[in-house]
Symmetry: C3
Subunit: 168 residues, 3 copies
């Protein structure tokens, strides 16, 4: 198995870099979307990403149950998870879910995957400290999750202006 983490800022070309890696792997790639089309902006973004992909891809939505979907799709081809930051947001805003426990379960599940996993995430901590406590809590959680996954990933890439900068 190979686990790749692709991080970067907004509109830095992370998804395109991730898609080309998933397509280069053996088997039929699976696109695991953690987004839900809850508002207009997000619905447009999802439609734009989907239009770029084609029917080589299988699409699965996993706003919360990412680990189950990874286990269920193992052995079929590469899985592209887009993205960890939205998955974290979903977990944090769903009563009864514990993002720390789920992050731990993800980090336990990744090493047992036979087929490649490419995870897209976001850099959200390089701006000025946010005014509100919830935003600070979120960016701390996002940083913690990114560190945990990066520690077990085989490759870590920072996307800058659409280009890959190798971190690990």
């Amino acid at each position: 198995m190979t686990v790749t983490l692709i991080t970067g800022g907004a509109r830095s070309g992370k998804s395109v870099l991730a898609e080309s890696r998933a397509l280069a792997a053996e088997g039929r790639p699976t696109y695991i979307a953690t987004a839900t089309a809850g508002d207009t902006e997000m619905a447009e973004r999802i439609a734009r990403h989907r239009a770029r992909r084609d029917d080589r891809w299988r699409d699965i939505e996993a706003p919360l149950d990412l680990v189950q979907v990874l286990d269920a799709t193992d052995g079929t081809g590469a899985r592209l998870v887009d993205c960890l930051t939205l998955w974290l947001t979903n977990l944090m805003f769903t009563p009864g879910r514990d993002w720390r426990a789920e992050a731990g379960a993800l980090c336990a599940a990744l090493p047992r995957q036979q087929s490649p996993v490419i995870l897209v995430t976001n850099e959200v901590g390089m701006g000025i400290v946010p005014d509100n406590a919830l935003a600070r809590e979120f960016r701390d959680a996002a940083g913690t999750l990114n560190q945990s996954v990066a520690a077990i990933a085989d490759d870590v890439i920072l996307a800058v202006s659409g280009l890959p900068l190798k971190v690990k």
Copy 2:
């Protein structure tokens, strides 16, 4: 021709890195400012940048018509464009201008330049998602423009604490 894109955060030393590259090229360098001295802060910043340069430089303002200025100054020496993010802002806030079309025109104009072009831009997408829709639209546009220019640039550099990190 050589096209260099220098990106980085606020006060990361992008302009100084760009200036040294422009001065190292043959001929008299041209400083193409996209800023307009519309408010006090910007006027001070322009004055500070100008004080650092000397009369080796030719100064031209191009808040909107960047492509025409690039074509008109070709063959005289390196051109330093400072910066793409302000140019994008100007285009987005000027009625009748279409930033996507202008970005396309810039990307068509760059490969035909005989003299070097060094373009400074900004990383604006690595903080928490902004509250307001206009800021989100702007950072998406900035990321898209950066990706387009980076794709055709010969060199792409990320400035970190005044130091150059080679991306391409």
Copy 3:
């Protein structure tokens, strides 16, 4: 002497990278905290950082007088300064202190240190331009300070998802 600057976003693993470097040096490491436990969030963060370290460390608080503490602890082992951004904040908000003069004094003091110094700082300039003038002033000051220290540092590292990216 060796001066190392470790920069990165919030929760990017800067402190852990800095701690392992300090522990690898000869002698007993000193942890120089620039934070003051002024509010609950900060008190929790300080407690968490302290819990991770053990009694191999000597702890000193230096919210303002960083240069004096560096000079006074020289020759005992590595000094970890955590972090420059909070030191800058403290200087900017303390009447009668001039952060530019103090930054100059720090840059003059670093080269005379016999024992290693590892300085942690923050990337705060890669988000959207902040609305309020004070936040813009702060991020400009932080960028200027980072550039000054990076210019004299032997090693500069950008922490990304807990991993070190060598800048210098």
